[in-house]
Symmetry: C2
Subunit: 686 residues, 2 copies
């Protein structure tokens, strides 16, 4: 790469030098704009589809491998356990046992609590912490994900199904619908993965999620007032208003024993949670606290026979492993629509959480998780779960953080957790008979309080006010309308914002940064100066049908404003000669874009000016050429340049050459002959 | 603007010169990236709203004017007739009378025909050519628009209302619904104009319209087979399949007299149309042909008493001007939903045609039409029309073209046309008693045949295959599903395409064009060369929640691919040191974008590389700064540059200074200490 400074110094000197050239010949050495090498439509379509659905190029590793190796790689691709399994060591096992036992101590009380949140029998929460982790250990590619039921999916599942079926009166039907929803959630998740449609979860922006989760946390916490206050007649609705009104209309049902116990354990749990956050090394304090609370409170109830004194307890739980439930799945009947809708929404929500958790910890430990593979793993896990008495599960954030802090190395920690839960299911269930419901409420509140992330919300407010609006809508929608309503509103507003950005793209005026041939927005760079006779605009978006008529009007207004301003300042006719459109930021264009540039060219010529294009990118250049019926345009070097600097230099030198031979000053009496172009007035660029 | 070549030659020489500098100090004179001057959120919101809803800045002309002048301008703004009226001259009147009479001769037969197309009494078509043109003459700002009923809106109105009410059995109710739909169409159009929501019609892309209009033309023509073949039992459905099956199931009803007459006049009309297109000066041949055909065929029927020989005629028509119809408007009742939907769709369609026609001729004559003002004018025209027995009207393309060719100068030609129609309504109605329906069918077919624009469709195919797909969907949807169904499908696909472009933005690798400091896509410019040690990527879209996780994965894959390729070529460790992200084409960013850059930075550092940003635009720069909690990042000049050239030059000189003092070659043993950064390893750019 040898330095050749000739061209650059040319470009820089052009402002002062007046060079005399022939009319048609272009003065400077300028670089030609070329379209990208030709590719057939089919090839382009293939590339586009690949980029859309296989952006991670999953078959890359198979290339050039022998058949046997391909087979092994394929098996490893489908079952990641085959990848890390063979190298598994005793050292890793030790870490995994520690972390597995830790998350099990968290999973057991949380499982029972979340099942209650979903209006399901508590034991279903334990079932859901047994089978799904085993499935994930085989199929999942994250090393830190701790699988089990999560608060938001539990809440949504319970609240959506309750719209049609009462969990108290139709317990069996409700359970059937929950398993069926789980099946559809899994089917939907796995399909997204197989069809490579992970895009869909990208439409839940971070701002939406922050608002949504904070709202859901409040809704969930409000539901716990039933247990924490010992109320028996509680509203079945979820909204802020009905719950609070229900709470204050049943003050006579408040039980001081429940309140006392609840407040004590809530304080204990929140305090240990605080310790866990402040000192990550003491993670076991917060991880073990729920189990300790359960044991303590159960002992207290047992000792004081508190179940007869205003404290409700879980009651007798069945012993034994997950019973099969495939005969309980509904694939037809009047509730099918509800079940599919519930599956869809809980599926998306749990997938979002699972993928986000997986990515977060993968980034921390510097390994990759494959989004689509994770979707398939989570989906299959839920499908298997739905036929073994489990409801919707995913990778839970709080539990995975504990898992990570406890030193989990592989998915074996999930297996250890599952085995621990299995032992509990087989032998320890009678111990939970006297566990008070109030303690489950306290555990849930402690778990969801972390979902209210005020610093993150403030961060969003600081960076982008519109994102904050989305956040706020999600939050208020969830607490005042409904969980799925708030989500729908936030997603709609986010997409609406993007569409608005497209229909009203930015156009900015560029100016020259003195001493360089760099051209930048004159509003952003105060030192950037206009070049007399030139209006340089940059279009900062793809041009398509939704914005072409706006861009047409806007650019013409730029020209009018520029001329008016100049005429006002100089008190004589504007010397504007060239309108340069910098297309560097126009990444795509459709037929409307081609028409826009043609129309614009006509309009600009009618004003006696010339339109010059700079740096059309590959696709745009291709379409411009194809839309150019005359076939003589892009061979003309004075309408199309590679950089704004070269365009200005070249045009300026042509003008000077012209003006020295034809006219004496820069005023080209263009008003007199509005169609006059310098060299070839008949040929137009477009 | 004095040329200062120092900086540029520095930038160019850097590849060959090895300069020794101190570690922290940056070698080259580089230009700082600055955020735009601070504006408050409120100001930004105001600017944004103004650009969204008032892109044409309608109040511009009022600025700085005295109060009286403001009042006059305001009146002229609302009633454009006040603008051109005072200067109206006899010479203009002469032109307008000629063109007015010409379009009247076209409007009368077309009015009757289109009313039949909408399943309305023929006289409603004439009513609709009387009042609306008068209203438009006062309110409209186009000088060429010829107002009246149009084929597509007539078709859609008739077919949508026929879904619920039979025009044959419930004539009065059908008429009431038609007027009510017209009222809602007008209300909707005027509201769009007042609320400045003209954006909505931008979502009908040109490709959609080409396909839609061709499909509608075929549907309309098929409907004329009833009259042209003289069939009495015709299907009430609109689709291609039912109509053709109805035609061939009633071959016994075909009347040779109707077919003979129809074919003769159809040939005559198509021939005169052809003349009109080939020789625009002979526009009066095609403009007068329909009226001549009507007169001729009426005389023929009258002379041969053909109404008794298989040729159906219009029958007796009422004389007199438009009766009032405001008492016929439905604002409640069971059909309200249908009426509003019909009003919405016919409103959008007729508005699209009217605005497009106005803009086309305004561009030809080099004057401006204000889209929002036109919407209000067309909307009020329809609202007034709905209470004077008119149905949906707008500026018709074919009639406006005739108007333009006949030399219309102002909206007075519309007044002349209206007066001629008035005379017809008052005195000439009995003459139409024997006009055969077959001639109306021939007139409609001739009018709509021009809507099938095959060259335009081919042009779309040539430029953009995806746009052609949209066109095809609109076309097939209209002829096989329904008129509004086809439209909905096409619009959905168009929007889906835009959303796909957003979720999968392009990222391209840039290379240096030898001898310059220009960096361009290496796929497009074959001569562009990579710089050893640098991976330069350009992101060609706004960054938002819908694409940030894709971009994260994609950029990391770029890095992996680059390293793998280099390692394969050189058979040693990749010498990649810097990843430069050119943000010149990123016009907007939300909070997800800020997180993306932070995450990316971490990931890149984990690989032992450095992430460098180039040319963030105003909004992006602002958000980056606000997202930068540490407050120490953008003061560091080695993470942020104004151009790729300066970034490469500056980083390269730093590296060389480093390598000459620390290490002997370009391989920075970065694998050994993956976190090593040259100067300040602890401080990160983001």
């Amino acid at each position: 790469m040898e330095p050749t400074t000739t061209n650059m110094s040319n470009t820089n000197n052009m402002h002062s030098q007046t060079q005399s050239h022939e009319c048609v010949e272009i003065a400077m050495e300028v670089h030609k704009v070329v379209p990208p090498p030709h590719r057939s439509t089919l090839k382009k379509l293939k590339a586009r589809l690949k980029e859309t659905f296989f952006p991670d190029d999953p078959l890359r590793q198979f290339k050039g491998q022998p058949l046997k190796q391909k087979f092994i790689l394929g098996a490893q691709y489908i079952f990641p356990i085959l990848e890390w399994g063979p190298n598994y060591s005793f050292k890793l096992l030790k870490s995994d046992i520690v972390s597995g036992l830790t998350i099990a101590s968290l999973a057991i009380p949380q499982g029972i609590s979340y099942a209650k949140l979903a209006n399901l029998p508590p034991i279903v929460g334990l079932y859901s912490s047994f089978v799904p982790p085993l499935v994930y250990a085989v199929l999942g590619s994250s090393r830190d994900l701790a699988v089990g039921p999560v608060s938001i999916a539990s809440l949504v599942l319970g609240s959506m199904l309750r719209q049609e079926v009462s969990p108290a009166n139709d317990t069996v039907l409700f359970l059937q619908l929950a398993f069926s929803s789980t099946f559809f959630a899994g089917l939907f998740q796995a399909s997204l993965g197989i069809l490579r449609l992970g895009i869909i979860i990208d439409f839940l922006s971070k701002a939406t999620l922050i608002g949504f989760m904070a709202g859901a946390a409040i809704i969930v916490s409000l539901q716990q007032l039933k247990a924490l206050l010992g109320i028996t007649h509680f509203t079945p609705q979820m909204g802020l208003v009905p719950v609070l009104s229900s709470v204050f209309h049943h003050t006579n049902e408040w039980s001081w024993q429940a309140i006392l116990m609840g407040v004590c354990f809530l304080v204990l749990l929140l305090f240990t949670r605080h310790i866990g956050i402040k000192k990550p090394k003491l993670f076991w304090v917060s991880a073990g606290a729920p189990l300790v609370s359960v044991i303590l409170s159960t002992l207290l109830v047992f000792a004081f026979k508190a179940q007869h004194h205003g404290i409700s307890v879980i009651g007798k739980l069945q012993e034994g492993l997950n019973p099969p439930s495939w005969n309980m799945l509904h694939f037809h009947g009047s509730h099918l629509g509800l079940v599919m809708k519930t599956g869809l929404i809980t599926g998306i929500l749990s997938l979002t959480e699972g993928i986000a958790v997986g990515r977060t910890f993968a980034a921390l430990k510097n390994y990759q998780v494959d989004g689509n593979k994770e979707m398939i793993a989570i989906g299959l896990m839920n499908m298997v779960g739905s036929s073994t008495s489990c409801y919707v599960t995913t990778g839970a954030f709080s539990r995975s953080a504990v898992n990570h802090n406890a030193g989990a190395k592989t998915a074996v920690s999930n297996i250890v957790m599952a085995v621990t839960v299995m032992v509990t299911l087989l032998f320890l269930m009678p111990l939970f008979q006297y566990t008070p419901n109030v303690i489950l409420g306290a555990i849930i509140v402690t778990a969801v309080v972390g979902l209210i992330d005020i610093p993150a919300a403030y961060h969003v407010w600081k960076i982008d006010k519109f994102d904050f609006l989305v956040l706020l809508c999600a939050f208020l929608g969830v607490i005042f309308i409904s969980v799925q309503g708030g989500l729908a509103i936030a997603v709609s507003i986010s997409i609406f914002k993007i569409l608005m950005q497209i229909t009203r793209p930015k156009t900015v005026m560029l100016g020259n940064i003195p001493g360089t041939d760099i051209y930048r927005n004159i509003r952003q760079y105060k030192e950037a100066a206009r070049i007399p006779g030139f209006l340089i605009l940059s279009i900062e978006a793809s041009i398509n049908f939704a914005n072409s008529s706006y861009l047409n009007e806007r650019i013409l207004r730029w020209i009018e404003d520029y001329e008016a301003e100049e005429e006002e300042q100089t008190k004589k006719q504007s010397g504007l000669r060239f309108v340069i459109l910098d297309l560097s930021a126009v990444s795509a264009m459709d037929t409307s874009g081609v028409s826009l540039l043609k129309d614009l060219r006509k309009a600009v010529e009618n004003k006696g000016l010339e339109l010059v294009l700079v740096n059309p990118l590959g696709e745009v250049m291709e379409k411009l050429q194809r839309g150019d019926e005359a076939h003589d345009v892009f061979s003309r070097p004075d309408c199309l340049f590679l950089t704004v600097g070269e365009a200005v230099a070249s045009l300026l030198s042509t003008v000077k050459a012209q003006s020295s031979s034809h006219v004496s000053n820069m005023e080209f009496n263009r008003r007199v002959s509005p169609k006059s172009s310098f060299c070839e007035p008949e040929v137009s660029c477009l």
